[in-house]
């Protein structure tokens, strides 16, 4: 399945957002996720299926002003 992760095309076998986060090796407790522009809370990731063409954002803490 082809999706877009953080703006880049990505081929994944993950069926859910939670699986995707794990597949990418991120620490699930540190990142925040959005699916197609809407916030996807941590607790809902496992129940959030991915579909062809989805746009996923995975964000993490970074310096800011």
């Amino acid at each position: 399945m082809q999706i877009i992760v953080n703006g880049t095309a990505h081929s994944t076998g993950a069926g859910t957002l939670a699986a995707l986060v794990e597949e990418l090796g991120h620490d699930a407790a540190v990142v925040a996720t959005a699916l197609n522009g809407d916030f996807a809370p941590r607790g809902a990731r496992a129940a959030t299926p991915l579909a062809e063409g989805d746009r996923v954002e995975i964000l993490a803490p970074m310096q800011g002003g």
């Binding site: 990142v31 925040a32 996720t33 522009g37 809370p41 964000l59 993490a60 800011g64």
Partner: protein, 258 residues
Amino acid sequence: MARFYNIEVASRFMLGTAGYPSPAILSDAIAASGAEIVTVSLRREGAGGQGAAFWELIRATGARVLPNTAGCKSVKEAVTTAQMAREVFDTPWIKLEVIGEDDTLQPDVFALVEAAAELTRQGFQVFPYSTDDLIVAERLLSAGCEVLMPWGAPIGSGRGLNNPYQLRSLRAHFPGVPLVVDAGLGLPSHAAAAMELGYDAILLNTAVAKAGDPVAMARAFGEAIIAGRRGFEARPIEARDMAAPSTPVAGTPFWQSG
């Protein structure tokens, strides 16, 4: 003590964490500043997982974090970013930036007010980065904000207080609202001057991060903010148009009274 949304802080300095030469210098600068509140952000996580390391570094400082929505240009973006930040940083605080223009990074006051209202409804405690517009300030308060953060000058410009008159006017119109000058300062004296206007705190980043010696500059701003606040509370003399002697004239030796 200053108070923001029922949190009391001894330091009136909020420091940004972006653009330092190294994590160690950032860490030292936070310590030197005395700041109890630091701003942070969210960015796309790469493979390296730098996010966790940064978050660890910030947590180690003991500072309270104020996540921002830097770079957001619409209400939707700002709200989604705020939601993600709340989850990651585990805080209802959000520094709300909605930028309307790329060159000057000026706030879009329309989107700002709308986003502030929406976030307040969602339980956030909003710190809105705004202009020095009195009416915008009223709208933000009506939207539920309990802090206002007018700019001193455009972000990163280092110009100081571009419009002290308007900042004074804001202070006079909202005597009970915590007011923070956010952005545009370049020198410790700028921060002191803002505090002397009766502002409650200062938020800045570039002036420290990009100084030749960020750690020393962080300390300098920290000291200047304390000095400016203390000066405000100590009730300064008023500027006068004509000079007056500071040495008493009674008892002047005779050759001085001819």
